[in-house]
């Protein structure tokens, strides 16, 4: 009987040792679940986020990961549909047991996942949705924005345009939340910075408008000093094409957020119009710093293409995750969030800070003019002016006001 007793003790001791031992040998990886649209036109933007995220996590994992854990990620295609994306996010939480959610380019889906993240208490790092509601009106403890939003674009556009002598403006854009948000943002801020500006008129077209020629000829016949074009995503390309065909850019200067971005200029090749005023968060050739050069080179070596703006978002998201876990000292969600608030990281565009109050990364914005370049087949941005992050950001009072609503 005594022998049997000893056997039980030995077995129990063995089990206990085994269970204590395992975490040391095979630490569970930190798992990130990315829900984004990987089919259809938006994938031009989202593939860069994912690829740069992978580039950054590979580098972190090579050095042994964070807290002795590796960073892993899984992706789910939302097909740009809110219901598919939401169920994918739920599946990632329940079956894949992800620690962090990330994505998505679709603003309605981003807001939906943000609600889910709040309920499930899982951090959600938004990449590419430009709705200002994410960190504004609908902001909460578990959601973070890793890219600029419409308010920031509006402030940046206004700050840049205020330096020009134009007075009589025409406003045109997508008849859709993004278009109206950008246009209102630019106009409201421009009016504050330069009270003598006048609005001659507005034109609004449907998203996916096939032919912009009649809109452009109608705008030109009103003879404005400059035009604010609030169009986004896939409409930028045909708009710029029509602008070149009608000679719009040669007659009236116009501003379009993302006009100088590689995602817009690349598909047009040398067909893109010159002299268009644009703003962007990232150019692989600007700022001309060793950090940016190294990042662009790594990305190009890995994927055979130049990094677009999405690559910056993916890269800094991985960097923020790794640094926040390190600072938190252990893999705990609440500690991770506390660490992330107010944290700064080094990035290809210089140090970036995560504002503690609204969880918005304080991106600087680069305003430039499109110009043909001798070394590339696509146009590049020149005369780039940096509009610093704190000028671009909505004030904390504005956020407070939006959240009170």
């Amino acid at each position: 009987m005594k022998k049997f007793y000893w056997l039980i003790i030995c077995l129990t001791a063995g089990f206990v040792l085994f269970f204590i031992g395992t975490p040391v040998h095979a630490a569970k990886a930190i798992k990130v679940g990315i829900v984004d649209c990987y089919s259809g036109p938006p994938s031009t933007y989202t593939n860069d986020v994912r690829d740069a995220f992978k580039l950054a996590t590979d580098k972190i994992n090579e050095k042994g990961g964070v807290l002795g854990r590796k960073i892993e990620f899984v992706t789910r295609d939302s097909k740009f549909k809110v219901d598919i994306g939401l169920s994918a996010a739920k599946e990632l939480i329940m079956r894949e047991e992800v620690d962090i959610l990330m994505g998505t380019i679709n603003s309605s889906l981003a807001l939906g996942i943000s609600d889910l993240a709040k309920k499930e208490k899982i951090p959600f790092l938004v990449t590419f949705s430009k709705s200002a509601k994410i960190t504004g009106e609908k902001g909460h403890r578990y959601v973070f924005s890793m890219n600029e939003n419409t308010i920031m674009a509006g402030k940046a556009g206004a700050a840049g345009l205020a330096k020009h002598p134009y007075v009589r403006y025409w406003i045109a854009g997508d008849d859709y939340e993004y278009g109206h948000a950008i246009a209102d943002g630019v106009w409201k801020n421009l009016k504050q910075l330069k009270p003598d500006v006048q609005k001659l008129g507005e034109s609004w077209w449907k998203v996916g408008e096939p032919d912009f020629t009649p809109y452009i000829t109608a705008i030109l016949s009103a003879k404005p000093d400059a035009v604010i074009v609030a169009t986004g995503g896939r409409d930028c390309v045909p708009f710029l094409k029509a602008a070149r065909a009608t000679g719009f850019n040669k007659q009236v200067p116009f501003y379009m957020h993302t006009a100088t971005e590689l995602s817009t200029l690349m598909p047009l090749g040398s067909e893109a119009p010159e002299g268009v005023i644009g703003t962007s968060n990232y150019h692989f050739y600007f700022p001309d710093t060793p950090e940016n050069k190294a990042f662009a080179k790594d990305f190009k070596d890995a994927y055979g293409r130049y990094p677009k703006v999405g690559a910056l978002y993916g890269y800094i998201t991985a960097t923020f995750i790794a640094k926040a876990y390190e600072k938190a000292g252990k893999a705990d969600t609440e500690k991770f969030i506390d660490a992330l608030e107010g944290m700064s990281v080094d990035s290809p565009v210089g140090p970036l800070k995560m504002r503690a109050y609204d969880h918005q990364v304080m991106f600087p914005m680069f305003m430039g003019l499109t110009k043909k370049s001798p070394e590339h087949e696509f146009l590049m941005a020149t005369d780039i002016v940096t509009i610093p992050g704190d000028v671009v950001m909505p004030t904390i009072e504005e956020i407070k006001k939006a959240r009170c609503k």
Binding site: P41, P210, T213, A218, S221, A222, R234, P238, G247
Partner: protein, 298 residues
């Protein structure tokens, strides 16, 4: 009324010209749809997909031949012909067995083709945008009434009447045109006098789809070639066919003119709400002429 201040006579004329060049594309696509609808009685929802394939093929053929003027002109000819070939296979392989079925069945069948073609385009060309430049002589703009007008749109203004003339000659002066008009009215009678109706149908279907391909080829240099161009065009083409009178090619011309011109003039007159103008025109036409402006063959 703030919005009327910038409307001058010149601006209006120019806006009408821009509208006419858009009308050209709409007419070419809608007339093909109308032809198939009138003779074969097939509401071909995949017509828009053939238009999209035409545009993608134009891009691919043009870049294959180096992207210069030669490539462009070859693409303008070869892309619609390739679309015609695809439609020939569709008709001989599948549609010709289904003419006796109900319209609803045919409608669902063409709808499934639209989905299949949409995915085929995604597999072959991927999800990126494509953009094609017109040859050097059509780039940039010329001054018309002192305002800039894209050269390529002038080219479209020449093509439109040519296609209309060609269609008129085809339906009125050729044997196949006459037979197809007769077959549209009474298929059995035409068959009874010893004409192979099935082949007439095949020819008409191929001509109709050729027009879709031609529309796609012509539109390629003016916009970005992308998935989803099939959906927007098919809705507009059906609206045009309906207001013009089902199956009537001249109805398609009239419908395209109404649609294209209200769109462009609306943009000048009331730019904030321009989107609704062509649809308001459709509603007005259908309220007063529910069967369309011209005689419907249905």
């Amino acid at each position: 009324m703030e919005f009327t201040s910038n409307i001058t006579f010149i601006a209006l004329c120019q806006q009408l010209l821009v509208g006419l060049s858009r009308t050209t594309i709409l007419f070419i696509v809608a007339s093909g749809l109308s032809l198939v609808l009138g003779v074969l009685r097939i509401p071909n929802i995949s017509h828009g997909s053939l238009y999209m394939i035409g545009a993608f093929l134009t891009y691919s053929i043009s870049t294959f031949f180096g992207g210069g003027p030669t490539g462009f002109w070859l693409a303008m000819i070869l892309a619609p012909l390739s679309v015609a070939l695809i439609s020939f296979i569709m008709e001989r392989g599948l549609f010709c067995h289904l003419y006796e079925r109900e319209h609803l069945m045919l409608l669902l069948f063409t709808f499934s083709f639209m989905l299949v073609f949409g995915d085929v385009v995604k597999i072959v060309w991927g999800s990126d945008y494509r953009s094609l430049s017109p040859p050097e002589i059509f780039q940039g703009s010329v001054s018309v009434f002192g305002l800039p007008f894209p050269r390529y749109n002038l080219f479209l203004l020449v093509i439109g009447p040519l296609v209309a003339l060609g269609l008129w000659l085809l339906t009125n002066k050729t044997k196949i045109g006459k037979i197809s008009r007769a077959a549209a009215v009474d298929r059995e009678m035409v068959g009874a006098i010893g004409i192979n109706v099935s082949w007439v149908f095949a020819e008409v279907f191929v001509i109709g789809c050729f027009l879709a391909g031609l529309g796609g080829a012509l539109v390629a240099p003016t916009q970005n070639i992308t998935q989803g161009m099939d959906h927007s065009i098919i809705i507009e083409a059906f609206l045009i066919v309906i207001i013009g009178g089902l199956g009537n090619i001249w109805g398609a011309l009239l419908g395209a003119l109404i649609f294209g011109l209200t769109d462009s003039v609306g943009i000048l007159v009331w730019p904030q709400f321009a989107i609704v103008f062509p649809y308001v025109a459709v509603v007005i036409v259908l309220t007063f002429r529910p069967k369309g402006l011209l005689k419907s063959v249905w």
